[in-house]
Symmetry: D3
Subunit: 224 residues, 6 copies
């Protein structure tokens, strides 16, 4: 899901996304079957896939072609095409559109925020993105485990300090916090983008946790 | 912003939204001038308004016509039309599209979540919505102050308990929490909607707090 | 309850305060009936009113005459005249006696502390007082929602920072915190008064929450 | 301070209470001199003693006669006779007047609450009271360190669970919490008293912490 | 347990340590019987004493001879001689071996950490050690109740601030925290020792709390 | 460090462990150089390696032979042979000696506890152990990110719930928590072992965080 995509539509029994019945208590599984489950039973909610719009069907096909898989978050939203489109539009604007923040920096925010919220889906999916974009696998681990362990530039440290404070105590963010970003070289627009990405993952973390969303197992081995 | 709107475009010096220079330290103001400031200096970020797309310009005009004002959150996003459109699309789908949750229930979630996060903008704007939609001004106050003080139906209490737990400790939400919603009569789709609205305001609260977004002063007197 | 009052005594079936049986589960009510309930069923405890002393009966009568109602907190304490008198004496000394803090400042502390403790009774009753004393309705809202959103003088910000820290982590208040007040222009006596008001509402918030004390509905519309 | 007292008045240079200049940074002292300091420099605020009313002077004299010392909290309030009288009236009503709670139980609440708030003054003074009233020195220690370590009756455990929850998260106290007290045998009036004592120490803890109030050193050796 | 000890072995029914059946619910006891219980029923786990190695038997005998009792923590570990030996080796190295920290300072860390974790066993046993080693009984109380109440040298305050931060938010300890220790005069090795002692009591506190470990009653009266 | 080891001694310039000067501010590095640094500059403390005892030298050699490297935690403790020996003895007893808990279960506790404490060293090193021992890489990720996301047996879930509660609020662990373990099939001895392993990592997490201990980079790729 690392770029904007356009593709043809799928047909009936639409998107190869399996509906799911509410999980009958906690199933016990071995490692292999967990992986299998995570790729087929994507959330704890039994929602039937909606018919995708041509734009969304094309997007899914493009994901399949370029990434080799459709990220489970998209499959999770696919029970309602309107919600899927809104999510994709906001996600792509935030994470892929031009910004004073690099794509890696936006992914670092995503993972540091998801670490605070302990969101399994986002840590796995976006941890892989940090590893891939940085070429530095331990950096992905540090973002997921404790961003303070990373040796970061002052700019990136200020960026993550802001994003994490905004996550843990948003009520206490004030002008002095914005000024710390300005001193670290961020523009007014960059400050918005840091806030918007941090905010977005505070949303996504919660949608994922609320639905027990499972990451595609393929992420685990990426860019190690 | 209580319904979908469509309208003609605005012209240059586009949207009657004032750009703002970074606030020079904390200005001290009397009551009246604070109100004035909140309606003109909408965020702490100095961002110039973008040229709105026809769709967005129409939306703003419709707000002006129907509400008598453009909600400041829209003006805040108007520095970038693409971000504004993504926000409006997601917001309108979540809060106004058909759902097993009434519009009032969605606004109750919005305010209860914003109370946890102590978001001034959202508490003022959506507190007014709860007052208006319910015809019960104290209900709006209780959502903003402590939702546990309200005498709620079991359904609504379960809904807010879930939304608030998802806000304060998303990592601890599990199948038993979803089952509590099912027992209270919510469908799988309703559970998604509760999660999505709670998630959305966890995002918006943080964007608002990060930018010191100020609510239109008109909200204060609405539906008292 | 904005000034000292003296009045004649009431007779048997004394004070027009209704005893209450323990609420039979959570009653579900519409807006109007909630308001009704809040004015008649003042706490969750079934306590019969005591016979008021002449001084207290006079005080109640004066409240009725000047405010148009007896604040519910007084009715709540009226099950025991001695407790009522002790409460009234301490309250009036703290909130109304001469002090280096204005009455508005004392009410601002009351609301900011009650916001931390999410006390519905005190937020409603004292939020109204801030609105009335300041002539600035949004100021009352900011005290109740997040005092950091208000544009305050350095003096008032220091005052509230101290009161809120004293509320959330009293064990961590030290000489450096007192010195911050001194630097903001507060005298030794003022520091005591800030602490005493903040302390008092940490008490009252808990008595109110423990008993589900309900604010008079008249407060909601005051000074909007 | 274990009973109501009446006594003759003191004369000029009134109460043998030393005014204090703001402590010049943190003084370093040996054990013996700390004790000395705690008995002479009672708070961090430089407040001159007020002239005591005859009632208060008598009360101080009675303390001196019966306890052998005036509790420092009284000396601390003695900078203002009106505040002292209000404090003494409320304290004596709560802790010494007839109640369904024994004096020991009220002191147990005092110490368990003060433990949450880590108030040095109250833990020392009221820890001594628990030791003395119970004849069980370890009980005083357990109240101060972790009340859950004590082997308590169901009644007393329920009482302290309520008081501690009311201290740490007053916003979450609801009918189910009151019902737990009712099931443990407490009357409606007893519930008020538990709440009022817990509330009172949430006030006193904060006044003491805000002013660095020091306990009389004599408490340390009492009832060991 | 204030020095290294060597002693002869005990025989069968080995160490005078009573095995314990799981406590049948919370027993209610008077002061005297609690004391008795604490000296005989040492933990909530029914574990039979292991046969002690000669070294450990000698150590126990030495404790008995020098202290007059075997500290209950040793008796608690005595269900498995290997675990006992590992615990004793680490404890003695940390608390008694040469270090830039005095034995008193190490005990102060022990108590301040145990206060955060509210560990009854360690607060009683090591609180007594602080009283004894310092000759300043109130110092022991302040470490147990709120170390910030003590008038400490800058060195000792920095030491405890580090130990307590490491206890409450270990993830946030960074180079600036180590530098604060260096500025207070601590060597690299001293920093290790502060961390190691603080770490050790974060372990011991949890083993004690997990097993409801009871301190020897003799500690209560020591060095008052 | 997955088994007990015995080996010959190393010679002068003893253990191939580099002393470290205090890190001159936060160095900025690329991915590759971070890895390099983590394998050579093991902690933030400048401590010279001690001469290892024959037993410890043999242990290090055995690690090198069997694992291909000496775990950095051992190198970190090697500034003092006595501390190293005590650490190794306790570690090996806890993690490798016979127990009712499997080695995997003990590693799961290690990682779940380290996740609460956000300890980079322990999450990397013991996360690798969970992956290796389970043959289930995602299980290691779930332990590090949010153990609640894993589909665990009731036994293992109860075990981790206890370990995590003991980590976050040790003061609140009571008989009911131990009973939950008993109901899940754990023996008295097993309960001790769960507590002891959880306790040990609460210690190690803090020693690692206090010293900025860096994990061997080899762990990152293990058992993916």
């Amino acid at each position: 899901m690392q770029e904007r995509l356009t593709v043809p539509e799928k047909s009936k029994n639409p998107n190869n996304i399996k509906a799911k019945k509410p999980a009958p208590a906690a199933p016990k599984m071995t490692g292999a079957s967990i992986a299998a489950a995570d790729d087929t039973v994507i959330t704890a909610l039994a929602l039937k896939p909606d018919r995708l719009s041509p734009a969304m069907a094309a997007y899914f096909a493009k994901c399949q072609e370029r990434l080799g898989f459709v990220p489970n978050v998209l499959a999770a939203y696919a029970f309602d095409n309107a919600k899927l489109e809104a999510f994709v539009a906001m996600y792509n604007d935030l994470m892929l559109a031009p910004s004073g923040l690099s794509k890696l920096e936006r992914e670092m925010i995503a993972v540091a925020v998801s670490s605070v919220n302990r969101c399994y889906y986002c840590l796995v999916a976006h941890g892989a993105a940090v590893r891939a974009l940085s070429g530095d696998p331990p950096l992905g681990e540090m973002m997921a485990m404790n961003y303070r362990a990373a040796r970061l530039s002052k700019r990136q440290r200020a960026m993550l300090d802001f994003a994490v404070k905004l996550t843990t105590e948003p009520w206490a963010v004030e002008e002095s916090d914005r000024d710390a970003l300005r001193r670290a070289g961020f523009s007014e627009r960059d400050i918005w983008d840091i806030a918007a990405v941090a905010g977005f993952f505070n949303m996504s973390n919660r949608v994922a946790s609320a639905t027990d969303m499972r990451p595609n197992t393929v992420y685990h081995k990426q860019a190690r």
